[in-house]
Symmetry: D2
Subunit: 348 residues, 4 copies
Amino acid sequence: MKPLFYSDYLEGAHPSIIKALADTNFEQTPGYGEDAHCAHAADLIRKACNLPGAEVHFLVGGTQTNATVISSILKPWQGVLCSDCGHIGIHETGAIEHGGHKVLPLPSKNGKITASQIALALELHHSDPSSVHTVQPGMVYISFSTELGTLYTKDELKAIAAVCHEAGIPLYVDGARLGYGLASAECDMTLAEFAAIPDIFYIGGTKQGALFGEAVVINNPTLGKDFRYAIKQNGAMLAKGRLLGIQFESLFSESEEKTGLLYLALAGNADAQAAKIKAAALAAGIALFGDSPTNQVFLIADRALEERIDAVAGYEFWQKYDEERNVIRLCTSWATSDEAVAALISAF
Amino acid sequence: MKPLFYSDYLEGAHPSIIKALADTNFEQTPGYGEDAHCAHAADLIRKACNLPGAEVHFLVGGTQTNATVISSILKPWQGVLCSDCGHIGIHETGAIEHGGHKVLPLPSKNGKITASQIALALELHHSDPSSVHTVQPGMVYISFSTELGTLYTKDELKAIAAVCHEAGIPLYVDGARLGYGLASAECDMTLAEFAAIPDIFYIGGTKQGALFGEAVVINNPTLGKDFRYAIKQNGAMLAKGRLLGIQFESLFSESEEKTGLLYLALAGNADAQAAKIKAAALAAGIALFGDSPTNQVFLIADRALEERIDAVAGYEFWQKYDEERNVIRLCTSWATSDEAVAALISAF
Amino acid sequence: MKPLFYSDYLEGAHPSIIKALADTNFEQTPGYGEDAHCAHAADLIRKACNLPGAEVHFLVGGTQTNATVISSILKPWQGVLCSDCGHIGIHETGAIEHGGHKVLPLPSKNGKITASQIALALELHHSDPSSVHTVQPGMVYISFSTELGTLYTKDELKAIAAVCHEAGIPLYVDGARLGYGLASAECDMTLAEFAAIPDIFYIGGTKQGALFGEAVVINNPTLGKDFRYAIKQNGAMLAKGRLLGIQFESLFSESEEKTGLLYLALAGNADAQAAKIKAAALAAGIALFGDSPTNQVFLIADRALEERIDAVAGYEFWQKYDEERNVIRLCTSWATSDEAVAALISAF
Amino acid sequence: MKPLFYSDYLEGAHPSIIKALADTNFEQTPGYGEDAHCAHAADLIRKACNLPGAEVHFLVGGTQTNATVISSILKPWQGVLCSDCGHIGIHETGAIEHGGHKVLPLPSKNGKITASQIALALELHHSDPSSVHTVQPGMVYISFSTELGTLYTKDELKAIAAVCHEAGIPLYVDGARLGYGLASAECDMTLAEFAAIPDIFYIGGTKQGALFGEAVVINNPTLGKDFRYAIKQNGAMLAKGRLLGIQFESLFSESEEKTGLLYLALAGNADAQAAKIKAAALAAGIALFGDSPTNQVFLIADRALEERIDAVAGYEFWQKYDEERNVIRLCTSWATSDEAVAALISAF
């Protein structure tokens, strides 16, 4: 079998997680996240984030997490500002609208939006004499790392949060790929530095070493009230909730190599493998589409290159670039091996 | 640790499932249920149900399955008829209403409703000159086995389906505990005989041997169109969908003892253990609350009995019975051992 | 044509309203309720209610008012406690559920619920260890006068409000028939005394002399924020909003006979005509169903009586009473004449 | 008072409508649109549209009509394709999203979209291997005349309908300003020719001579089933429904001048007055923004012009054009007089 680079959720989980699930299999625990593993995992996350007062909740997947968080925060007539490549606006089959809310996209650059764009959108809304005829921006959603693999700097994030807080609306960060962002050589924040900025964010497990699972961290006490009702109502409360606790216990423990949290160690491997792919592509004269410093590499490929890659590895068609060329995506993960990367690179 | 009988989802999964997850952990598969394990599991289910043309979809949990199925079927002005102890009306935090639909409860007897109750409700609605001012019944929801552990007979189910079909509305069966029902000594149907009756039902995995997972079986081609959009929109499409496929492959394979499907073998153990508890209770002069022939036993317990049980086992408070007595629930599962039951019974 | 007593919205509007609409027809005013008539009408209502700080908004009809108010207040996982004959639960085609919320009916007596029932429902919810699996009561809805024409006393209303406020949830009164209640000989409150009690209520125009229109009065500043967005989103913001202002200007001006507000004078006529019908029925030995002191009279009628009435007047079938008898409803309105009542009574 | 050109709903109703309301005021009629006036008005509309089999329903306002129609048609995972200046996407406070559906805007030219744009959007969706992760286009919404006053030709409309029908989705036309479109000198269709094309459309009354009211015409039998439930659920069923019937009876009767339907005669006046304004502007060297042939005129105005107009007439700021100039909107209506236009033009 040729190695696949379609996405970052092609494999199961890091072996230590499989082992932990097996080891705890016959424990009898209460359901719905009220077990000791969830409590312990939440403590580990609070500690890693240096947010001793934060609420931590575990949900199963990203779309349901976004739908649950956003609909729990917004008033019916409010919408959510985001980048025009934000996952909630494009790849969630209208889950946000299903919950009653409009997604309010802003034009992005490299997958990112800026504090001043948000400030302008808020200003335009509130100064419009017909504002009640339009959807009121009620929160801001950004992704870190973004859907294009790019990163906000600490200053950019702080500026966005400042605009939000001046307007009295929360900042929510989708961290489906949070680890890949934090582990990147180009990231200028630690997890704790990052965690201090948003009102609410989630730490993605599904794409970063777990079988599934996202940990929502709420660092604004006004947002957390009754959040468990929202989880249940959105069908996001796992009966055997301990499965989430056990997985995040593993991810937020020291890695075997004692180099820090397993979560970041796994992401670091993915980023490093992606960097090798990127370097090899550049060395071979292949143009990048965007310049992601994380685990997704976007190449501009002509037909010959696509065929050469296809012969040795799986890649994802992203979009048309021009008549002769496509943009293709190559994703690495915690599980990507040197051998797999070597096989891929041989096609360049 | 004393054995717990709180619910039927206290443990992880049957060891063969854990093993299958571990064995397949490094396979690279497409996401979202489009992998070979899901395809294979769906085939096994179609075969076991003798429904070669049915659609089979895998979701994560029961509340999300109910919300997804019901909102995918109903028109905005329609509601769902069910028993007044139906799970959707009581223990899903209004997930059905969150999707826009009213739950229309009918008074139940032993957790069950009848074809004639449904026929009457439909007749009352459609003969009401103000019908457009009221919610139109658009489908029927029942549980098998019911929330009180009871069973519909084949004739009862067929009569309900006949009323539904005469009215042009589908019958949906919540099978969170389908196996416990079918494996009961008092059940007069095989899986295939059951499966032929509803338009749509789900086979519960979470409470019956899996880590999680519910398999929706659609036996009415008008209901299946675009169902995957509904799954995704409801946040119910697992990224690593193969986890569901792998688990149902195990459950719908022959059990090690070659006595039939693992799914039914596991349920059979739970039912047998529950029968022992019930027999011991009756022998000890303890009154039953209802007469469940499946894996849930409801006892009418005075304070002394509660204390004796509490000393040796975990039980669930169900409701007050009178000033001196409570109804308590004891659940067995695929994992309930002879030793656990013996410990519990010693308190009677 | 025989006179009709089907409902209290059989005619157009009080002639002074038609005249006001004609007189103002060529005025050019801003839309959406931002005109001088709406401002003036709101002032008149604030004055009549002795609520100088209240917000007043004008909507078109009752169902849309209930849907707008309730969905603007509740969190997604909250429902609304009400009587089991509450209009929102029965005759609004699931408009509340369409907005995402469950209606939580309590058993009523004469159409009314009590403070202690509400307190118990709240206590049961919040003491339930599984509360997050159930819908959280987030507000209370009652009708004044009720759907059966009955009245809460001032003490009953105050007790309900006290329970609500202790629990931190608002009390909302549906005043589709508020005038008929306040004008009743049995009512122990003035409009201002009534208005001081709920957090939010509406003053019904449609059934009480206007062509259409309901005035929402918000006496709790936390509920009014951004309410105009909610009105617009629910399709309840009339483009030519001045039509509502003009009508409520008329209703909340002195009546021609200088006996107080036209609104109450019109309701007083209806109540007086209903009292005559009730007295005549009792004198003729006809049993009442309930004992409404407002504009709806419910009689228990055998077939012969129904036929006699049908020969001279229109009535509404309400429900079956027993094999031989039905409950029928007779409604009066601002427009009911002595002649019409005399014709009806002749049948008794 | 200077004449106002803010919008086309500044006045009440055509005097014949006020008279009809007064004349019928004391009739007693059934509620909710089941009266003889509504039946008669529906017949007049069917006749005028030459659609003998069409269903006709009367609602109160445009936003509620759009929300009711769209949510009654779409499946939960479907959205509505429209122009990026479509009213539903911009000026309805997210009413469509409140009903659970995403608005899918296409870039417009002069407020219009084309059949080939729609075909491309459909093709892109259905050929996307990830289509189930995105919102499925389930209907097309266009406005006639458009929000910018422009018109589709008969061929353009037919081409759009053909694309829709090939894809199996309905075409819905928002006719808030339908009369202004049909009465335009540049329109190449009669009402009946227009009416034959869409699956469903509405005839706007609010902006075209009525106090309020929109008539939904359903020319596709699969869409009409149970539509009255949808009307009621959306709070759009007027209790005194005859008010809508009476108004549309007037609008769809011969005008006093016997020149055809009053509805079109009134729109014709508005269009003619707008044409005079446009001609005067061009004669004065003022640039148009777009070239609306209907009742809305958009001018590019420098500050001096704005001040001159403001001195003699009311106008609406539309948007900034450049640093020195704004786009302003001038609306005419059935009630716009020669004197008002003369006053306005004097400023040019």
